[in-house]
């Protein structure tokens, strides 16, 4: 599978992250999104007329929406990431995948304005971002009351991966995560998963490694 990728794109990172968590091999094709604007080049527009990245190619198949890529990778390599198949759970996963697009538009929009100087109404993007975070926090608080840590249960699914990056990077758009205790624990649970990989802006959980022993002279 070939991923048209940008190191600073949370949407591209979703795909890299799930691939890492499921042991899926990806061939990365870096796209000069910033400053080059290569995603709007004729070659990439031919692949994806929307002019967005990521783009995932697998043989004849071309996918241009990150949620679809997550579903594809999970279905191929690790179906447990699609949940148990219970109808309510499947629907909830779909709901969070849709919700993740609101995170992209709001938190991701604020991040593009604040960090990469793209045009946009920062205050409006931040306000809709806070609204989405509050919704997520409320849902995760209920999950914790039920004894679960992930969005749809005790195990992570593509829903968690779809929502994780833009939430973790909300501070890039000057939206503080301080007021959200349940979001914080959920982010940590995702970061602690076996095989987790980072992207710039998300630091290593150094606590998972023991303190290095003092070298004796």
């Amino acid at each position: 599978m070939k991923l048209y990728d940008y190191i600073l794109s949370p949407s591209c990172y979703k795909v890299r992250l799930l691939a890492a968590l499921t042991g899926t091999q990806l061939t990365l094709r870096p796209v000069d999104f910033h400053p080059g604007g290569e995603h709007l080049s004729p070659a990439l527009l031919a692949l994806n007329p929307a002019g967005s990245i990521p783009i995932l190619e697998d043989g004849e198949l071309v996918l241009t929406e990150s949620s679809a890529m997550l579903v594809y990778i999970a279905a191929k390599a690790a179906p447990e990431w699609l949940g148990s198949g219970d109808p309510a759970e499947s629907a909830q996963i779909q709901q969070w995948l849709s919700f993740s697009h609101r995170l992209t538009a709001s938190l991701g929009g604020a991040r593009l304005v604040e960090m990469l100087l793209r045009p946009g109404d920062l205050a409006a993007l931040q306000a809709s971002g806070v609204k989405a975070l509050r919704e997520l926090e409320a849902a995760l608080a209920v999950q914790r009351m039920k004894g679960d840590i992930f969005l749809t249960g005790s195990k992570p699914t593509v829903a968690d991966i779809a929502c994780f990056p833009y939430v973790a990077l909300a501070p890039d758009g000057s939206i503080a995560l301080d007021p959200y205790p349940s979001i914080r624990l959920w982010l940590r649970a995702v970061r602690a998963l076996d095989g987790f990989i980072e992207m710039p802006g998300i630091h290593r959980l150094h606590e998972l490694k023991p303190e290095p022993a003092k070298e004796t002279a």
Partner: protein, 280 residues
């Protein structure tokens, strides 16, 4: 007393990305407009129409609100044949422009912020190195800096001890020279050009002049963007936002020698835009 930083040159645009429509931006709190007026010509103007001096160097457009007493600093390596010049692009950071430079001069954070790339535990020790203020050039230099790195550059395959030299030729610019894995004996040049928007907000324009014939240009850009973006959350969460010129609330150690020299140089020149003068 007016801040002598007003007479310095600052990067305000990437030349290759600047068109006739140009861009509106801020320089030390003043709105300015920068636009291309010809194939090799650029105009920079203040809001009242006053035109500002312009230089086009190192991939960027430079201007000044004051009257620069010195020409824009020289990077001789930029003209060496065989180097690949890399425009990394701009990243905005909510911090003092001086803090952005200070962080660039720091190696002790590599294992914790650039984990498994520029550093890794247990290789955290900062060995003694030399720092001086070169009087003739009026620049800060740190030399004989060594640090163990798991993946020092895009072209580095495994862990090596990397040699560094740091240079501060202007209050918001730094030039880093580091071991060049494909060409032993040569130095890769990585710069950090910082545009002070306000005292607590800056646009950072990294730029590179590398000996690397192999790597894809986009890979080189992504590598440097990755490194800088790992620093951004640090820079936005240091207290206070401005760079303290009095370390009374801090504890610099020998590993912070370049930081101390940089701050001393700022203090000596009264370069205080973005600085906090009294420790609080």
């Amino acid at each position: 007393m007016s801040d002598p930083m007003i007479d310095e040159w600052y990067p305000v645009a990437l030349f290759s990305k600047l068109d006739a429509a140009g861009r509106d931006t801020l320089l030390m709190g003043h709105p300015i407009h920068v636009a291309r007026t010809g194939s090799e010509r650029v105009a920079a103007t203040e809001a009242d129409g006053r035109s500002l001096p312009v230089r086009i160097r190192y991939g960027h457009v430079w201007t000044s609100l004051g009257e620069p007493k010195k020409e824009l600093f020289d990077i001789p390596e930029a003209d060496e044949p065989g180097r690949r010049l890399v425009d990394v692009g701009v990243v905005r950071v909510r911090c003092s422009p001086l803090r952005a430079v200070e962080n660039f001069l720091d190696i002790a954070h590599f294992p914790f912020v650039h984990t498994d790339i520029l550093g890794a535990e247990p290789h955290t020790e900062v060995e003694k190195y030399d720092v001086e203020i070169r009087e003739k050039e009026d620049e800060v230099w740190a030399t004989k800096v060594k640090f163990f790195q798991p993946q020092a550059a895009k072209s580095a395959a495994g862990g090596i001890t990397t040699d560094y030299m740091y240079r501060v030729p202007a209050p918001t610019c730094s030039v880093l020279y580091k071991t060049c894995p494909p060409r032993p004996g040569e130095w890769d040049v990585i710069t950090l050009f910082v545009q002070p928007l306000t005292e607590e907000l800056c646009d950072v324009w990294p730029w590179m002049a590398l000996y690397d014939d192999e790597a894809d240009m986009t890979d080189l850009i992504h590598f440097q963007q990755m490194i800088f973006l790992q620093d951004r959350s640090i820079l936005e969460n240091q207290i206070p936002r401005r760079l303290p010129l009095d370390p009374g609330m801090e504890i610099p150690t020998r590993a912070d020698m370049t930081s101390v020299a940089y701050r001393r140089w700022l203090k000596r020149h009264n370069y205080t835009y973005g600085a906090q003068l009294v420790a609080q």
